[in-house]
């Protein structure tokens, strides 16, 4: 073995190998693996935090979208209610206007009827007055005046009565 060139010695090579394998095992299990595990764990922690933040962001965006939808729905509902109430107001206004018109027509109609009744009453009163006057005039003529005067008085009385009647009509 010792006759190999460069003083190569297999015993020493194996001792070197044993030494290095022990060192490898120690460094791997005591240093490399724990540090690597810690680094991976920390990376995982930060990745989880990142994922969580992304999820939170996504959830908040979804909520925002929901709120926006609700808000737009509420706005639509409000505008719908506004238009409905406007329509109701219009309807109510029309109804009230119609009622007022009807009332006005009724009042006018009643007034007209009352006026007609009053006219009728005045006319009848005038007729009865005329007839009384005619009767009176006839009696007076028959008792005091001549036939010619009586006839003139009669005509005057008739004209007066007609004139009164036309005034009442107006």
């Amino acid at each position: 073995m010792s006759n190999l060139p460069l003083n190569i010695n297999f015993t020493q090579i194996f001792l070197h190998l044993l030494n290095f394998l022990i060192l490898f095992a120690i460094l791997y299990f005591l240093l490399y693996k724990p540090v690597k595990n810690f680094m991976e764990k920390r990376e995982k922690t930060y990745r989880d935090m990142d994922d969580e933040a992304r999820d939170n962001l996504k959830a908040s965006e979804e909520k925002k979208a929901q709120y926006d939808t609700k808000l737009s729905e509420a706005e639509a509902e409000i505008s719908q209610m506004k238009s409905k109430s406007r329509q109701e107001i219009e309807k109510s206004k029309e109804t009230q206007l119609q009622a007022a018109k009807d009332e006005a027509e009724r009042i006018v109609r009643e007034a007209k009827a009352e006026a007609n009744r009053e006219k009728e009453r005045i006319l009848s009163d005038a007729q009865s007055e005329i007839s009384e006057m005619v009767t009176d005039a006839t009696e007076k003529l028959a008792l005091k005046a001549t036939a010619g005067e009586a006839f003139d008085q009669f005509l005057d009385a008739v004209d007066l009565a007609e004139k009164r009647g036309s005034d009442y009509e107006q």
Binding site: I22, L27, Y28, K36
Partner: protein
């Protein structure tokens, strides 16, 4: 630091430098290093046939002893870190935690990038190999002394400056690459790995050559006392720190690349579209 403190520091530094220089020149005549010729030292640095260290009755090269020491140091450090540091890790890392995470993250990323199909254990392997090469090479800088079987004192070299250590690292890495090929592609993975038959030798001797060259130059510089002022600082940085980084990087990169290559699943064959025969084509045209 105010002017007065700076002045004091400079004076202390100058005094220490003068004392060291005096010590170097006064003791240069009785230096133990000069008991051996530079040829012997160089030859021993390459072949490790002079100085041996006793390890429970077995004579081993100083490089292997350095390997054991590196393992011991790293084991203690790993246990301390595992017990006292890792349980106190926080989501926002401190300085030391950042360094550890940077190191582990680098090798993990290297394994995932170069071998996306199979990388479960590869990150751990290249982490261990990189740390071993780096720490082992940096150990040279401390010049830890051991007593050899001949009673002489030698400073521990880098574990992979020993040919046996370099061969172990190259061959183990090759076998590890082959294991990845087998795990991913079975027999096809073995064939894919065997195609790169020169890989264990090239990896081993690259490591050996690179680390040995640093060790040789450093030894040469330290051998001559007049070169051992200022020059070792540059040499130490050039041949130790840079080699420690570069060789750790090169080996881990190569292992991850080849591991990824042999563990890559085979691409599905594209169906060949048969061209219509000439006769049929003629009929069609008519």
């Amino acid at each position: 630091m105010d002017k007065k403190q700076k002045k004091t520091m400079l004076i202390i530094f100058g005094v220490i430098a003068v004392i060291l220089l005096l010590g170097i020149f006064l003791t240069s005549g009785s230096s133990a290093g000069e008991e051996e010729s530079v040829n012997v030292i160089m030859r021993d640095a390459v072949l490790h046939n002079v100085h041996k260290v006793n390890f429970f009755g077995i004579e081993i090269n100083p490089g292997l002893a350095a390997g054991f020491l590196v393992t011991a140091i790293l084991t203690v450090a790993a246990i301390i870190i595992r017990i006292f540091v890792i349980p106190k890790f926080t989501l926002v890392p401190g300085r030391f935690q950042s360094v550890l995470e940077l190191l582990v993250g680098y090798f993990d990323n290297l394994s995932k990038t170069n071998s996306p199909h199979l990388n479960k254990i590869m990150g751990g392997y290249i982490f261990a190999a990189g740390v071993y090469i780096f720490t082992g090479t940096m150990l040279e800088l401390f010049g830890i002394q051991v007593i050899t079987t001949t009673g002489a004192s030698v400073s521990l070299p880098a574990p992979l400056a020993d040919i046996n250590g370099a061969l172990m690292m190259g061959c183990t890495s090759y076998l590890f690459i082959m294991s990845g090929g087998i795990a991913a592609n079975g027999f096809r993975g073995v064939i894919n790995t065997l195609k790169e038959y020169s890989l264990p030798i090239s990896m081993s001797f690259r490591l050996f050559g690179a680390l040995l060259s640093g060790a040789l130059v450093t030894e040469l510089v330290y051998y001559y006392s007049h070169l051992s002022v200022v020059v070792p600082v540059l040499v130490g940085i050039m041949f130790t720190c840079l080699h420690a980084l570069i060789q750790a990087y090169v080996l881990t990169m190569l292992v991850s690349l080849f591991y990824g290559e042999v563990s890559e699943p085979p691409k599905p064959k594209e169906k060949k579209i048969k061209a219509p025969k000439a006769k049929k084509a003629k009929e069609l045209t008519v």
